[in-house]
Symmetry: C2
Subunit: 297 residues, 2 copies
Amino acid sequence: MDYSEIIEQNLNSILKDREDDITVRAARYSLLAGGKRIRPKMMFMTYDMISGSDNSLFDDVLYYAATLEIIHTSSLIHDDLPCMDDDDLRRGMPTCHKQFGEGIATLAGDLLLNLANERLLYILMEHPEYAYASYKISELTGYRGMIGGQSIDLDSENKKISLEKLYELQSKKTGALIESAIITPYYLVNRTTAESAENDETVTLLRRFASHLGLAFQIKDDILDVVSSAEELGKSVGKDERDDKSTFVTLLGFDEATGKLEEEINGAYGVLDSLALKDYKTDDYRAFVKYLEDRGN
Amino acid sequence: MDYSEIIEQNLNSILKDREDDITVRAARYSLLAGGKRIRPKMMFMTYDMISGSDNSLFDDVLYYAATLEIIHTSSLIHDDLPCMDDDDLRRGMPTCHKQFGEGIATLAGDLLLNLANERLLYILMEHPEYAYASYKISELTGYRGMIGGQSIDLDSENKKISLEKLYELQSKKTGALIESAIITPYYLVNRTTAESAENDETVTLLRRFASHLGLAFQIKDDILDVVSSAEELGKSVGKDERDDKSTFVTLLGFDEATGKLEEEINGAYGVLDSLALKDYKTDDYRAFVKYLEDRGN
C-alpha cells in the first residue's frame, strides 16, 4: 500500500501550532520540503511484511516513521551548512540557512534532533515495552551511527580514504537510519528487548538486509552523481569529483562501482529469499529493491 | 558534601575510549574545559535534601547529573559559533570551533545533544520507572525549553525586547535546565509520573524554587557583565551593551535590576522556608543562594 499521503499529513501536523517561533518555522520549512520519505516508507514496508492482517500498531509505526524523518531532516539541515557541505539547494529549493540564516538553521537542526528524541521518550511513558526500539534509534543516530558517519565524512574532506573507511562512513552516515527504518517495526510488534534481539534470527536477517540496501542506495547515489542531469537529481551534478570527495565511483571507478552495486542488490534479494522462507510477505520490498536498482534520480 | 571530584571523574570517563574520532575529541575538549558544574551540583543538593540517609540512588543521580552537563555543553558549543554569539573564548580557553573548526564544532554539539538523549533512553531499559524523569529533561531541552529560549535570543538580536519577552527568553534558555537539575532527583526518588506530578506540592515548590533561582542567576550575570573585570569573568566585559543586547540591566537600568535580583533571591529563600516546613534539609540550598547573591564572577 502507498502511505505517502498519510506520512505527509502526519509530518505536516508536527509543531503546526508553534509557528510563531522562527526556528519552528525553519524546522517545518525543511521538514515539509518534499523528499521521497524513503525511511518512513520502509517502516511501513516492514510493518506490512511482518504484521499480516493485524493492523493494531499502525499509529505507533507512523509515530516512529515521522520521528525518523525528523532525524533525517535535522541531519540534512546541518549537512547543508556552509561549514559542512555548503549547499545552496536541496530538492530544488533554497536550503534552510539560505532561507533563514545560519544561526536559525543551526538551531532548527538542534530543535529537530531533540524533538525526535523527545518523541522517542514520550511514547515510553505509555509503552515501556518500546524502550529498546526507542533506544536503538537514538543510538543509531548518535556517535556510533549517523553522527559518527558525518564525522568521518567531514574528517575525510579533500582526502583520499580507503575503501574500508568509505564502507564504515556510509554504513554509519546513511546505513544507520536505514537500519532503524527497516527494523523498528519488528521491534515494536515483537516487544523486542536487548536480550531477545541477541538470539532472534529475523533481527539478524533484517540487519543484513538493511546493510545491503543502505550500501546499494549509496553506491547508486554516487553513480547517479556522475551520470544524472542536474534537473533530475535536483542538485549539482559531478559535484563529488569536483569536491575531490571519496565515493564508490571515485575510489573504484565506474565499472567496479556498478559491480559492487549489483553485489549489494543481489545480497538484498538473497536476504528477502530467506525472509520469504519464514513466511514473511516480501513482495513490496522486492519491488522496492527493483526500484532502487532502476531509479534514474 | 562537595561532589566536584566525583562529577569531574564521571564526565572524564564519557567517550574516553572513542577519542580516535575527531568529533569525539572536540566534544570532550568542551565537556572537560572546566566550568562550575552548577547543574550537577544542584542535582546533588536536591538529592541530599530529600533522600536523608538513604543513598541508594546515588549512581543514578550522578548519571543524570552528567547527562545534564552534556546537554549544557552542547548548547554552549553551538551558542559560541560565529553564526550565533560568535565567541572566541569560553572559560579563558579557545571555544570549540576556534580549536577544531566550525564543521566539527557543529557536529560535536549534535553529538553531545544526541548522547544526552541516548543516555536518557538507555537507563529506561533497566528503569522504566524513570520514564517521566527522562522525558521531562528532554522536553525542557527542546523547543519548549532551552532551544526555544535560544531561538528567542537569536530572534531578538539587535532589537529591544519587552521585559515580558526577556523573562520568557531567560526562563527557557537558562531556567529550563536549572529546573531539570533541581527537580530530577525528586522524580527519581519518588518514581514520579505525569499523573502524580500534577498533585504533588513538593513538585510545585521545587519548580517555583527553580524559577526564582534561574532568574536570580541570570540577573546576577547581567549585572556582573557591567561591573566585573574581564579576568574574573573569563569573558569580555560590557559585551552585552556593546552588542545592543536586551538584558535585565539594559532594560531596567542597574538599580532596578538589582532590586529584581533581590526579589528573586527572597523568593528563593521563601520557597526554602516552605520546604523546611515539610522537613526537608534546606541548609545546602540556603548556602547556595547566599553564594549566588554574593558571587563576584
